[in-house]
Subunit: 343 residues, 4 copies
């Protein structure tokens, strides 16, 4: 099977990472590359690393240019996906790397984004219990946010096994700066970031907060709450999420570890590290891999889990292709690796 | 007044930072520079930036070499300070940048360090209520750990004002790698650190955990508990501590901010940032400054504070000199700045 | 003496570094802070590290706002300095951190900058032979470019001693990204810079090329030529210039070292490292220091010198204040240090 | 065909990169993983990113353990390869990632390495004219050094077309720190490297100097000479080599570009960038790609070329596998990509 694929919003980091991975995928053909203000430029101007596509011209994001593809990835700013998606037929697999279709509660969406809710699509996190069956039969997929991917995978086994109940979760997650996108902003230029660590979106205002709560609820939390603090660190890629939650019942570190082992035994991209080893983002940079460790801090009465992903790969483009593989009936790992480029 | 100063353990990062700051201090004369295995080398071999001392020879850490100084700084490995300190007269101001005399509970010391407890010295964090009077009259000072400095200052106003009670505190603190010292270890070489973020000492096992609890208790917490996770990031300096704690009573963000303003109004090195601005370590790198912000996450029912310090300056050598100034009756800020080298 | 100082163009990196250093200068009072598009904002919004000035309002760069100061620093875009300088009286010391008045040859200026030549001011590199006398009596100073500062100091003793004649010089200089300024551009955002090294302005087109040639000629080169390649590296500060030139006469490494020793013996900010030690930018970051080493590659018949400076300090703001001190009759090193913030 | 492969010296960076690439190679089976002091440990302890091999035990580097493989890669310290290679049969393809068999002149070897010359093997740089035929029929391959790979490819078309004659070449090459290996040394720990740029091995003493000269001679330089300066920069991977040489005949930038286009038109891993675009290492990090640009600096009478490679991939392990593919009669690009992990 050769699947013809278009990428709408190809000039940004999500678009570039999708193309990097698709170039290594054995069953796809890369079709239209579209953008808005970058239309007319060559792909080289945006992604000099993608040499096989260097001479390709970026065209405008229009229904005409996106027609005739089996799969269309959307890597667009908030609020732009719905209109583009509507123009695509129901038989086209549309995978939105943006936020528009992630949340199921319209009121929550409007509170955090300030725009009308576009709808809700199946959530492209295959590791959620029962989710692969849903993804296998859909033509519309909402790719999870990068922070929710790391944080949800960090807590999933603890929630499903009842070790924690999802109340008073605390997430502090460090992220490389590619997660902030490619638009030039003064606070993101290199001299502001190198040698510096900073917090932002503190106090429950970050837009990934409701997505976290939605995921915790889906995993069984009766009354989830979360304090989420994102931290910007001087790397280009990688998220390290430190997630802790009060124990719902007395649990030893061994029991917690066993629960994680059981939950992830068959997951192709998730690696629970050997006991005592803690994740480093370097191990999964550039890959779809997830590195995890868990323990119990008895004195603090909290389970603590740490999860490393690449925000652009498993956290965006890799996760999107993993879901695409499922939706197309291809082997889930096709074209993807769990092995990072270390050191 | 000219104060004659010796630095025992001058070849490491704490020793180097002490010397960098002392070279800019108008009332000191730098005397003996001592070390153990580095004795006989020149200071240039360890600290090429300290050009005025480049030709000075490092001598062995012996009572003879340390005699005849008004102040002796100890920047030694755990367990080595007591013996050196005993040989110094009671009239010599001894300031230990290590951990040996920080904890008051001998059993806790032995649990975390596995060696006999050396004793307890006045704790060199001038910002603790009532602490300046103690430091002004002592000849022995234990410099706080870098993580506890940042985390304690982050929570101090919330504890003293009763907004939080010090129970179920969660600290996730990112640190540059100079905090891990200068001994060559494979996991600290540059290729392992650059481009990577990692957690270590997770689950309550880091040795700064009991120091945090001791500080929270001193600030009024009746039953303190803390989940503390240190995170290594690719900077050479800087700690960014994200500290959250459940509200002990309903509190608005405005009330929390006002409490922090009141607590730190007269502190020369602590800056509560304008509302809405969050700390970045770059702003205080190389300085004794502390940058802070606080808010309340109502949905999570937690106060969240973020604090940035330079682990080598305010977190070690700068804090040590600040305490020295107090103990010597000098202006507290002499030879120190709160302004970082940014960008 | 208290000197009242204005900084025109205070919102960028050069302006911020001038203010950081001026805050530590014992003989100055900081007056007007001006800018163009940033007028009306607080200084905190641009330089959160400069806490003593956090609440100061940035005003527009007008003759009125700049009146009444003893010294005015200009940190403006190319072409903007002349008009501002003209409105200032002849008794005001005007120090231009930009390029407008560096070159003496109007045709060369126009070739590289494409605008009319504004004129030529005394060149603020005190280390040039005979230059201190000129700077001591001028009211107009052109601050050298950062690359020319490093490269000229790297070759000065070899030129003045006749070891090289300034023909076929090759300069490859790595620079941190603060040298590229603070304007947000896509190729300067952190994710583009971290983990990457790149060349730019290759082939003699960089605007610092004619300034290098002018300096080599001033140092006695009868027919200077230079191949200059700037390289962008993932640090925020620091230039490391590798400069080589064919030997004009047979020279041993010892002779070359001796020539450098002699030339810089009395320079307060220049350190020729011990034989065999090569500069690292870390040693001078945040300082006005210059670290140097030289050798002779007999097989290649070239002298090779390596020079490290901080592009924002000795390469811009520190050099400017060093020249200001001379012009004001103050001790040349006042308010400056040669000691970097390492590690 | 399934080729059984052993890696001797698997615990270092070259070994880890070989295994990362071999895990993605469709025609190989990974056999013995050997080392010296690390024997008995698991591979996870050395390379946590290589999850499929995490539980594999490292065994000692002995003839017995290396027997029974089709290909043996040697990633050993200088001087150790000869003895290991001798014990392997003539039908085993032995690829040495170290320096032992690179140089053809025994006297030069002894001058730079101070040990007896082990011999000379075919040089694993397929891009050298006529070299593929040699590599296709050999059972012994010496992998080029990382700096020589970048510098030779930077100058190859200029030499073979006679634009330069290889005399008075100047190479200044920035490298990430993985090139310095994984042994813990104080000057390589992260705090010493981050935020710093430094030169080392200046003045013709770096061991890659004779390899450069040997390559230039092989490409036709009648009397090659080179001034080579390596520069350490704070990245984990990547070399950016700036190479210049006097023009042997008048040449325009267009002519130089055309010569490079012609020389590399059919090279699968070498990309001459569009005119005016200069390489950044990010574009080829983690890949076997080579990014190049060239121009002529008429005023300096030099051709200037800049070349970016990943020191661990094209500069070591990727180049080794490319040569292996040729020697085994496999498609040269099998298991390799030219696309870097950017940003």
């Amino acid at each position: 099977m050769t699947v013809k694929i278009a990428v709408a919003g190809c000039s940004g980091y999500a678009g570039g990472e999708l193309l990097r991975l698709l170039l290594a995928h054995p069953e796809v053909e890369i079709g239209a590359l579209t953008a808005k203000s970058s239309a007319g430029s060559t792909l080289f101007e945006h992604h000099p690393h993608l040499t096989p596509l260097a001479g390709r011209t970026v065209v405008e994001t229009t229904p005409e240019n996106l027609a005739g593809h089996d799969v269309v990835f959307l890597a667009l700013p908030h609020g732009a996906s719905a209109e583009v998606a509507e123009a695509l037929g129901d038989d086209v697999l549309v995978i939105d790397a943006g936020a528009d279709f992630r949340l199921s509660d319209a009121a929550v969406w409007e509170q955090f984004y300030g725009t009308p809710h576009a709808g809700t699509w199946p959530y492209g996190l295959p590791e959620l219990p029962g989710n692969r069956a849903i993804l296998a039969t859909t033509k519309r997929i909402a790719v999870p946010g990068c922070y929710p991917t790391a944080s949800t995978l960090a807590l999933l086994p603890a929630l499903t096994s009842g070790i924690v109940d999802g109340h008073d979760v605390v997430v502090v997650a460090a992220s490389g700066t590619s997660g902030a996108g490619k638009a030039p902003k003064t606070h993101l230029i290199a001299a502001e970031i190198i040698g510096s660590v900073s917090a932002y979106g503190v106090g429950g205002v970050h837009r990934h907060t409701p997505e976290l709560l939605q995921n915790f609820a889906r995993l069984g939390a009766p009354n989830p709450s979360v304090s989420f603090t994102p931290v910007l660190v001087p790397t280009s890629r990688g998220i390290l999420a430190t997630v802790s939650a009060p124990l719902a019942r007395p649990t030893t570190p061994d029991e917690a570890y066993a629960a994680y082992q059981a939950a992830y035994a068959d997951e192709p991209f998730v690696t629970l590290l050997p006991r005592g080893a803690w994740p480093m983002t370097q191990s999964i940079v550039g890959s779809n891999g997830v590195h995890l460790q868990v323990t119990v801090d008895a004195a603090a009465n909290r389970l603590v889990a740490v999860c490393a992903i690449d925000n652009l790969t498993k956290g965006t483009a890799g996760g999107a292709i993993q879901s695409m593989n499922i939706a197309l009936g291809l082997p889930e790992t096709l074209g993807l690796t769990a092995i990072g480029v270390a050191p």
